[in-house]
Symmetry: C2
Subunit: 219 residues, 2 copies
């Protein structure tokens, strides 16, 4: 009946199809579709690495990834969706990389700060890419909530990993939320040239103190 995989009905956008590598269940993608999706994300990241948010132009992404503009929009319903998906992609890499070398700090706060600073250094290597991803993330409106939430969960997972906490308390989860807020906002101030790298470091270290504040003795 359908063709190239029944992604579902008309309204369906492979966006939801973005079954993360972990659970490609919802709407299975054809090999060619999966390939297209990868080409698109690759082109997006490449263009972003050059000139940041503005350099990711939908027509160029379509051309670079050898896909028609309409198809690009079928996969990613907006530029913001595309960039947020790009961020999901990069975050997975990052999480994998971070897993390999766990932070060395004594306290949970130290380990989290160390992990975030490591991530920050990675972003510094591709500042334009960071710009595109972070701007998209904070500019996203309600229509992108599910995807942004996914990014948020991934970030939370990274931080909890660094804390080494199996089952964090509600208080600790609040602290993690605040750390994420600070992380995103600090990145923005850095990207827009209003804060130095050193300043970001201080902010991260400052907010990480909240962890110790909320991490009492283990049961």
């Amino acid at each position: 009946m359908p063709a190239e995989a029944k992604v579902s009905a008309k309204v369906n956008k492979p966006a939801k199809v973005e079954a993360r590598a972990a659970a490609p269940v919802s709407p299975p993608l054809t090999e060619r579709q999966e390939a297209r999706r990868r080409r698109i994300l690759h082109a997006s990241a490449q263009l972003a690495s050059r000139g940041g948010f503005d350099a990711v132009q939908m027509r160029e992404v379509a051309e670079s990834s050898q896909v028609a503009l309409g198809t690009l929009y079928r996969y990613f319903p907006s530029k913001i969706h595309l960039l947020v998906a790009t961020m999901q992609d990069q975050l997975e890499h990052m999480h994998g990389t971070l897993r390999k070398k766990p932070p060395q700090g004594e306290t949970a706060a130290e380990r989290v700060a160390e992990t975030l600073m490591r991530a920050f250094r990675a972003l510094q290597r591709e500042p334009h890419l960071a710009d595109a991803m972070v701007r998209a993330l904070t500019f996203a409106d309600r229509s992108v909530s599910p995807e942004v939430d996914q990014v948020s969960r991934q970030t939370t997972a990274i931080i909890l990993d660094a804390m080494g906490q199996e089952n964090p308390t509600p208080e600790q989860l609040s602290a993690v939320r605040v750390i994420e807020h600070t992380w995103h906002s600090a990145l923005i101030t850095w990207l827009s040239g209003r804060a130095s790298i050193a300043q970001v470091k201080i902010d991260i270290e400052t907010v990480c103190r909240l962890i110790d504040l909320t991490a009492p003795a283990a049961p």
Copy 2:
């Protein structure tokens, strides 16, 4: 020689002209120019109050404020500049309002949290306006840094006011920075529907604990 006030040279954009009400020194504006500026900001806030960021369309702002499109761009070189200036305007009101009834809390942390929650409630009354202003603020790139910085300073001033600290320590200033980060980011998650009002409250209260953590005995 010039006309309607010598704003300066060719490249000059009254943007810099935005000498806040406090210090209209740099390039003095004609009365008519000041009036135009007010009309523009008013139209901007009005449109924003309706439909948020997207509803603030430059052509409409120009029409509503009875100014040519080109003139609008002379006063505010981009939509982002316009909305950030709108935020500066609103922040001043807010600061004035907050001054009148200082927060009641015992500790500095309580007072800051109370103040921010009061501001938050004000934003809730005009969620669309809040959306427009906050989105603009976080989307702003380097070209808007001076204006965004001004907003940041104003916010810092409000928080320091609430703390009741005359000369804060560097540590306290760091805490304030982190509070601002959390404030902005929490607003974004609320505006994009990813966090409830209650959640924002918790985040604010959580981060405000940092103040007590960094506020030792007075000298």
